[in-house]
Symmetry: C2
DNA sequence: TGACTTTTTGCGTTGCACGCAATAATGCAA
DNA sequence: TTGCATTATTGCGTGCAACGCAAAAAGTCA
């Protein structure tokens, strides 16, 4: 280890390559269109072979989204407690997973490309849904520590966790979609706070609706 | 029109072919595995060319699931009112969409194949999610006629409808997944009632959870 | 340096998805 | 029933995705 980051050259290079491919993929998707951007073009711009491309991302969509399994796992490991509201905590977690890319960089490219191709949002959610087991286990852990759920069994916590996760995911998806389709021409970069509020309102609405539909 | 069904020979033949392909696809998926079953095999068994296959289904998964755009549209057109609970009505609608196949036949094959390959469930839900606009419009219509939502605007109804739809979809998915993974060896065919009850319980749980997490 | 592990790469394979134009099947009217 | 318009089916060809395999390159560490 002859560097400051605590990582060997290999790991650093790997993260860098992942990021380079992601950027190339997202840029080309924006420039040429999602379908028109072929893996060959992307690999070309990234300066790797097409075969190497597949060593980093299983599909083109994943590359465009910059979904990095390692970064996602790291994010999951980091999550331990849940101080605030469970639904809000989940929003933060999901959006964090959302923005977890190779180099740990939150690229605006991703935002732009999803704005242009909302289908990717669904794709992203499917990816998160694949983490269902790991995520619901974490949520069940939160519930277990929560006094309000003290009298319930572990199995019940897990069932509830799955429902909470599913509902949150759906709500985040709707929220993000609304935000992505919103013209919102006046607001600048600090507009990134908006989704969280929109989400809060959506959860509140859900609560109201459920009450009305007793 | 020289037949009893009110459809021309073309329409009937088309529905029949769609069904034949679907059955071939589902059977082969069960026999050989979802990936191992190629479109060539499926077309072969169905007695059509691979090219014709793509005239009926855009992807192999759609063929296995027997997703028929015409049948789905017919199902959506049929839906008009909503007498009972909105969430229950949605469950019925979603499962109806779920079982809408070319010939209008509810094949057990589909059930089996999804049991074996739960990924298809997610796929199916993505398909339903693509109907989001049409479906949420229908739900908004329900809300507009509902006294409990009388004081709200049309836009609010639509927002609520989207949330209700998203949450229902997620819940149905979880319900079906649980049902699909359940060994449930004792119960016979009448077990098909179970999912609806499981769904009801899930919605009830959601209500409780939301109350607790005020 | 030299032996090691890991990564990259080129090559080849399989299968998906679909455009296009020729051919066949069906519907309809005379 | 026959001929014409419409629609369906098919074969052919193309482009691309995804990945296995083994050789070559790059990084690691003694």
């Amino acid at each position: 280890m002859n560097n400051s980051s605590g990582l060997g050259l290999r790991e650093r290079k790997r993260a860098r390559t992942s990021e380079v491919i992601h950027i190339a993929a997202a840029e080309l998707a924006l420039e040429r269109g999602l379908d028109a951007a072929t893996i060959e073009m992307i690999s070309d711009r990234a300066g790797v072979s097409t075969r190497t491309f597949f060593n980093y991302f299983p599909t083109k969509e994943d590359a465009v989204l910059g979904i990095d399994e390692v970064a996602v796992s790291a994010e999951l490991d980091r999550v331990r407690g849940c101080d605030e509201d469970v639904f809000l905590a989940l929003f933060d977690l999901i959006t964090a997973l959302f923005e977890a890319t190779g180099g740990g960089i939150k690229s605006d490219l991703k935002r732009d490309v999803i704005r242009k191709y909302p289908q990717l949002m669904t794709r992203q959610m499917v990816r998160v849904a694949e983490l269902e087991d790991r995520l619901s286990a974490i949520i069940a852990g939160w519930l277990a520590k929560d006094a309000r759920f003290a009298e319930q069994s572990e199995a019940e916590h897990l069932d509830e966790a799955r429902i909470i996760l599913g509902v949150s995911l759906a709500t985040v998806r709707i929220t993000m979609k609304k935000w992505a389709s919103d013209p919102d021409p006046t607001t600048g970069p600090p507009a990134s706070a908006a989704p969280r509020e929109t989400y809060e309102r959506a959860i509140a609405t859900l609560r109201t609706v459920l009450e009305k539909l007793t």
